[in-house]
Amino acid sequence: MHPRLRLLAALALAGWLVLPFLPLAVWSVAHGWRFPDLWPRALSGKAWGYALSDTAGVLDSFALTVFIALSTTVLAALVGIPAGRALGLYRFRGKGLVTALLLAPAILPGLAIVFGLHGIFLRLGLVGTTGGVILAHLIPVLPYMTLVMAAVFSAFDTGYEDQARSLGASPAQVFRHVTLPAILPGLLAGALFAFLISWSQYLLTLAIGGGRVQTLPLVLYSFAASGRNDITGAIALLYILPGLLILVVTSRWITGRSAAVVGTLRP
């Protein structure tokens, strides 16, 4: 491609990717920004003051969302590592069916199951509880964790484990000192996606949380729906912060090969 044309295309792509953040950022400090003003009449820290105040509950929601996402990730890892091992290392009858079952929640829209799930969780007394929301988040998260771990294990040579056993390591030691270090990069990539998927859930949280489990997206929508663009902008920026931080720390895991490993990650 012609260098100038390429530069133009690159600039267009970068601009398009950044564009939606700009009005959010400006709104978060705007006081009075009406058509046709290109820039707010006045700048104000009020929206941020509200979002960061102790009593507004935004920070509580932030902490709750982090807690739910982290818990979901840990649970998904505990369940997904063994399942991924089974899928990655063994050939067995019904593997296609098992894979399809594990993959289904990632492809089927959340709406297809949320009504039924609501019914079950109501009976179990899980609606409106944080635990219920975490359990519900496992449904879309688990497929990713399992498939990532399956890909990781399919490239893992169990000979290392046998070797360690023959050198006197117990099964737990083998896992801790041999298996875990080998699968760690893949596990971190899977955990990253698990966190982000849970982090951005809206409908499942709304339904299973019964409104009482107020994660950040619910708070965000509540302000967006009432037209408070300034507070919406501030919360939206708060909301993307952890993802940004995680990305800065771990970008090397998302790129290239691990993206291929993830493969089926959520759009």
């Binding site: 009449r41 507004a56 509950g57 109501l122 609606v127 509880t129 944080t130 409104g211 107020q214 509540s222």
Partner: protein, 404 residues
Amino acid sequence: MLRKLAVLLLLSSPALADTAEGEALKAMSWDEIVAEARGGTVNWFMWGGADNINLYVSDYVAGILKRDYDITLNRVPITDAAEIVNLILSEKEAGITDAGTVDLIWINGENFRSMKQGGLAFCGYTGLLPNDALVNWDNPAIANDFGVPVEGCEVPWNTVQFAFAHDSAALAEPPRDMAALIAWIKANPGRFTYPAPPDFTGSAFVRHVFTHAAGGPESLLGPFDQATFDAVSARTWAILNEIEPFLWREGATYPNTITQLNELFANGEVAFTFNYDPAQFGLAVQAGTYPETTRSFGLTDGTIGNTNYTLIPFNSPNKAAAMVVQNLLLSGEAQLEKAKTEVWGAAPAIEISRTSPEVQAGFAAIVGHPSVIPAAELAKATLPELQADWLSAIEKGWAEQVGN
């Protein structure tokens, strides 16, 4: 396995102060109820779109509850009370009678009717609240919520009356009655619209047109009457269809929500917005959303007034604490606080004359926001709210005849 897991997760959630048994509470004295309420948590589901109101609840109300009663108030912001009605309905259907999610809801109108008809409300206890004495239950606008008798199933919180807002810098003299408004719409194409029912506020606007078409509210009072409805609705749809080409986007589409209409007004796209709670205009100006020159007005042929309430669901596990919250909300001090312009500007649901002299003085000292028409001014021409059955019929008819 699943059940075990569920139990484990439940155990990890905070213990609930179980005062689910409503009948037992009704047999208690107020002091006993307050004693029961101590240490409880109240999950109050309420519209969460205004930071001022949120802060009033989370700072002022929650602060007193914690300090004086050791009650934790958990404000749960929602966008649509209907979803919460549905949640409680689902809980009832699933047999959850004493461990519901919701302890208190900010509610009125159709949602109250659904709650009451579905047996979803805790009823018959309001007389126990000491501050119930401040409420004038003889006022039919308080004793009936959209025509549905309250009957001790909810406690009034605010009284409101529908008002319009305009930007005085753009339009100095707005139309003052419905006929003039309709004429103005036709003379100023693209400058007016209203949210599509069943949006709460949009539906209220349509009821104003409906009342106008009926030549006044007199024939519409009381239970639903099909013959009257058929006659009046035909005229109503004729008016609305007649102005449709002169609406924003030529009436091809309507805003979904009052928020969208507010946005159109804020950006000068339409000349008017309206709200059931005129205090919202002042809040929007304070937030910088509306221009400082925003002014509000009623109609000489009247605007609809109503009351909104707080309600305890039948399956709330924290009824005692929720009652304490309701009692606090009714107190003269709490009603005065939210009436302050910088806090909210909400009109009280209690009789000010029954409050202490200090509170009365406080109310007298309130200087209204220039953008908010004083309640007394609006109250000069008031229309009663129609009963909920009329509402349903009007909303259904609008969808078929106008918004199709």
